[in-house]
């Protein structure tokens, strides 16, 4: 394992300390329990937006705390959902009196921990709504499984929902916006290499030079299938076609195209994937009116990417364009 770390058990704490120091103007780090919160929280009269999940996906979620996006984020151990006490205290810290929305990626651990936290917060008299993001078309959805994973759409949902909350909309409306983003977003990912969890010390899985994992999540887990490594254009097709087919996205739809890097893949490769994804979207009659390209939701140093398509309308586009000022996403201010 080659990493710029000290002790594996200190990775999350030390990186959060560095992160908080580097972005002290925007965010504060609370310890015991651990959460990252907007420097100016709570915003009175504004719905608080909280997300969280395992660490190892940076900049998500802590990097999305700030004006116009999240009010707080709870980081867990690497690839491990945070605990209810973190979420409960963070919920309290960002409650401006009009309730808090929990944005939860659909993983059993995240769901259960957030559920417990919401119960605890409600016991304190805080109004809590929850939206579960489950946009990964690589996973078969079924009542008899854990359902689809929450992947790329989470980033878009946090931006758009945060903008709605920033406008001062009430909790039910903010939750509704988030729900609609989840309904309109679809993603799929591919890995060229595994990642190495620091306290494990070796790669989670071995992937030969000529193979790739298609349909991966964001926790260094193997994907749905292992196939021969393909040129970028073919890989992009393998990701885009199931995504487009699933909603389904239709001729004339305005969409946001998001090519996300898994951490170890450099920008030029993401742009090569974007190039092809744009061609495929255009061939399907989709109008790509907004784009996002970069490592926004990573799996440590994994090489690979995911593509997300989000169907837009005037309202969602305006919320996407609204000012945002966070360590990981910033425009308009």
């Amino acid at each position: 394992m080659k990493k710029l770390i000290n002790q594996p058990d200190d990775v999350v704490r030390e990186s959060l300390e560095g992160f908080a120091a580097a972005f002290s103007g925007m965010i504060r780090l609370h310890v015991d329990p651990v959460y990252i919160v907007r420097a100016d929280a709570p915003a009175k009269g504004k719905v608080g937006v909280l997300s969280g999940g395992g660490s190892g996906h940076e900049p998500m979620h802590g990097g999305f705390v700030g004006y116009g996006m999240l009010d707080a984020a709870c980081p867990g151990a690497i690839f491990t959902s945070p605990t209810p006490d973190q979420m409960q205290e963070a919920t309290r810290a960002i409650n401006g009196g009009v309730g808090v929305l929990h944005i939860i990626k659909n993983y059993t651990g995240d769901i259960m921990n957030f559920e417990m936290a919401a119960d605890l917060a409600r016991d304190e008299g805080i109004e809590v709504a929850s939206v579960i993001i489950d946009d990964d078309v690589a996973v078969k959805d079924s009542l008899y499984t854990a359902g689809r994973r929450g992947v790329g759409t989470t980033v878009l949902a946090e931006k758009i929902t945060g903008a709605a909350a920033q406008q001062g909309r009430p909790l039910a409306e903010v939750a509704d916006v988030c729900q609609r983003v989840n309904g309109y977003g679809r993603s799929m990912g591919v890995a060229l290499t595994s990642c190495t969890v620091p306290h494990v010390g070796h790669a989670t899985f071995e992937l030969p030079e000529d193979q790739m994992e298609i349909g991966i999540g964001i926790h260094g887990e193997p994907g749905r299938a292992r196939t021969a490594l393909q040129p970028a254009d073919q890989v992009t097709e393998m990701l885009m076609e199931p995504v487009i087919a699933d909603l389904p996205f239709k001729t004339g739809d305005e969409v946001l195209l998001f090519v996300n890097g898994m951490g170890g893949t450099p920008l030029p490769e993401l742009h090569i994937v974007y190039r092809k994804a744009l061609q495929i979207a255009t061939q399907h009659g989709l109008k790509v009116t907004r784009s996002l390209v970069g490592p926004y939701m990573t799996s440590l140093e994994m090489a690979g990417c995911s593509v997300t398509l989000l169907k837009l309308n005037a309202e969602l586009t305006a919320l996407w364009d609204a000012p945002v000022c966070t360590p990981g996403m910033r425009w308009g201010m």
Partner: protein
């Protein structure tokens, strides 16, 4: 670990001994459990459980003079606030439910233990919505409870009953090998999840086995 009490019940001290033994078992199997999780999950189950039971041990320093139910409640709360992931709420619930079932008891009979494990398992099932065959810790816990109940009906001694439940949990754990996961992170793998033991079923088996081993001479 604990001395052998004169009655055929499990004392508060025995419960503490069981928890200490299990914490050590988890520390010893941290790498193994994580490797199991690497194959069909996200390579953290061993680290999660170890972090949790290290916190449990630290907390238990304060509760030596409390009762069984309080101790189990402390364990549950400590797990919930330190483990995270799926295992945190599930094992946390397991101990909270066991705590409730043990309310007011200063010593546990075999039937108390069966009632507690039953309640604990029901709690896990309710929290995680998994059933037998979904390739989760439920596959180790449910057979353990059934074996305990069967042992009581058959009039087995406390040690025999504990051994029966540990064997049943072991079989339950092994039964997860060929299964396709329907719950938890392993379910994302679909058919690729078959051929691997479930890490949570393994840690649950170790929990039941730790009880049988620790309490072997305690009645």
């Amino acid at each position: 670990m604990s001395g052998a009490p004169s009655t055929s019940t499990i004392s508060h001290e025995d419960v503490l001994a069981w928890l200490r033994v299990y914490a050590q078992v988890i520390a010893d199997n941290r790498g193994y459990l994580t490797d199991l999780d690497a194959a069909i999950g996200d390579a953290d189950h061993g680290a999660n459980m170890d972090r949790g039971f290290k916190a449990v041990i630290a907390k238990l320093m304060d509760t030596a003079d409390k009762d069984i139910s309080t101790t189990l409640r402390t364990v549950g709360m400590a797990l919930i606030s330190t483990v995270g992931g799926a295992a945190g709420p599930l094992y946390g619930t397991l101990f909270l439910q066991a705590s409730q079932a043990a309310a007011g008891k200063t010593a546990l009979t075999l039937s108390d233990w069966a009632t507690m494990l039953d309640a604990a398992t029901e709690g896990v099932i309710k929290r995680g919505k998994a059933g037998p065959g979904d390739k989760t810790m439920v596959d180790a816990l449910v057979p353990a409870v059934q074996a305990l109940k069967g042992a009581i009906a058959a009039g087995q001694s406390f040690p025999e009953a504990l051994q029966s439940s540990a064997r049943a949990a072991e079989h339950g754990m092994q039964s997860t090998l060929p299964l396709i996961a329907h719950k938890g992170r392993a379910s994302y793998l679909g058919e690729r999840s078959a051929g691997h033991l479930d890490p949570g079923a393994t840690s649950s088996y170790l929990l039941i086995k730790a009880a049988a081993d620790t309490w072997a001479g305690s009645y």
